[in-house]
Assembly symmetry: C2
Homo-oligomer: 250 residues x 2
DNA sequence: GAGTGGTCTAGACCACTCG
DNA sequence: GAGTGGTCTAGACCACTCC
């Protein structure tokens, strides 16, 4: 492992050195399957990359808080074992489904401007937004191998997404678009899970019987500076499909 | 805020200084309601506590990764707004219910030694434990104001909990007991959510009609060194009760 | 320009693991 | 005892915010 990179760390560049180190280690670690194994020591990494030990530690701690690696005093750093199953309700639907060997698809079936945030979000999520603000509404149906598994209604604060159009959201992942087009980085999410029986509309969209058990999820997503950038209400069907929440920090 | 503590930081004690600082700030911040506000600057804290700026930052970063505060470059540190609603499926049931003004109760209705981990955990969670290991089995019914809302089946690896008895688990929270009695600190959890119709047994325990929509949660909890310490299968009823997942890091 | 957080360094000492 | 991570320091320079 220790010779796959060639000290490509750029000093005094736009990207901090510890971020560069963290990303190199992250991809190196992830490209090695699911088993756990030891990383090079702090001293080794410090020499390899030509940065101070403090900087190496800053990179390692970042990976540690993400749950990618962990450390044991006096022994070293180790990759955490992967325990993933099911499809994440919070991360990229597309990549998660692919990882599990399925073919994901996502269709926007409704798009509206100038919507208000439904009152139920307020009650459920303590939304601190003022009621008069405008939102973009986006309804998507997500499918695996052609079978619909979820309905997602997203409400995006309009002022954060200037010149948004339906077309922009058609192509790529919503989170990718947030980041690349508007510089918005989703960092935390708070969610509520509710077991309910599917109503007629949901049943039709998910191709299940009315009254089938489904999960409704209400959530709000915020940036690292605690700004709400997305309110989502999702309906997930069961029947083999499972929603996952991975690496939740207790 | 800046004069409520009196530099009680103990150097060279058993507890690292940055942990002491973090805990003081954590309780100070939490004792001030839900609104956001600014914390003292790094320099101020450094002088107040008589520790270096690096140490102060170490404390602040810890609170940041927990989602308690956030920083804005050139402006300062701020408390994050609270967005909590519903009852957490992952944290202390007791304290969460109390916070919402309810009266929680929890009854152990089954306790067994020498159990094996059911095969379904293996399929769902990629449990890496060997099949021959012994587990302690604990079934609890949790109620709010006397109304049952959840069934929790926990499987604890027996070798991690020497001399465990049913009585030990009767009194306090499972996580509290893990930490105080066995020194086990639950840090991460991976979970799968599945919408299902309640079967006869579940319906009886939750006092709902058979076939009512419920959520089944399969999860594994690990320590900071990635050791599995608990496998849990829970069944949550709906009908006003909502399961929450708070401050999930994307 | 003053104040704030963000990054980085060299160096020290300690606690823990393992042979 | 050698090697590892854990904690802590003083000091430097930069980028950003706000007046």
């Amino acid at each position: 492992m220790s010779d796959t990179w060639k000290k490509p760390i750029r000093k005094s560049g736009a990207v901090p050195m510890y971020i560069q180190v963290a990303e190199i280690l992250d991809t190196a670690v992830k490209s090695r399957g699911d088993a756990t194994y030891a990383l090079p020591s702090e001293g080794e990494l410090s020499r390899e990359f030509g940065v101070s030990r403090v900087t190496v530690r800053q990179a390692l701690k970042q990976l540690e808080t993400r749950g990618v690696i962990y450390s044991e005093h006096g022994r070293g750093y180790f990759k955490t074992a992967s325990r993933m199953r099911g499809v994440s309700g919070f991360h990229s639907f597309t990549s998660e489904v692919r990882r599990l060997g399925g073919t994901p698809s996502s269709a926007i079936i409704d798009y509206r401007d100038g919507e208000k945030l439904p009152a139920r979000f307020q009650g459920h999520l303590e939304a601190s937004s003022d009621n008069s603000a405008d939102f973009i509404f986006l309804r998507r149906v997500r499918s695996i191998d052609g079978n619909p598994v979820a309905i997602e209604d997203a409400y995006l604060p309009a002022r954060l997404y200037p010149s948004a159009t339906r077309a922009i959201f058609e192509g790529s992942s919503l989170y990718d678009e947030m980041t690349s087009t508007w510089g918005i980085v989703p960092t935390w999410t708070d969610a509520l899970f509710e077991p309910v029986a599917a109503n007629a509309e949901e049943a039709a969209l998910l191709q299940i019987a009315e009254g089938s058990p489904v999960i409704t999820v209400w959530r709000v997503t915020v940036t690292d500076t605690d700004q709400a950038v997305e309110y989502v209400r999702s309906v997930y069907k069961g029947d083999g499909f499972m929603l996952n929440v991975n690496r939740y920090r207790l």
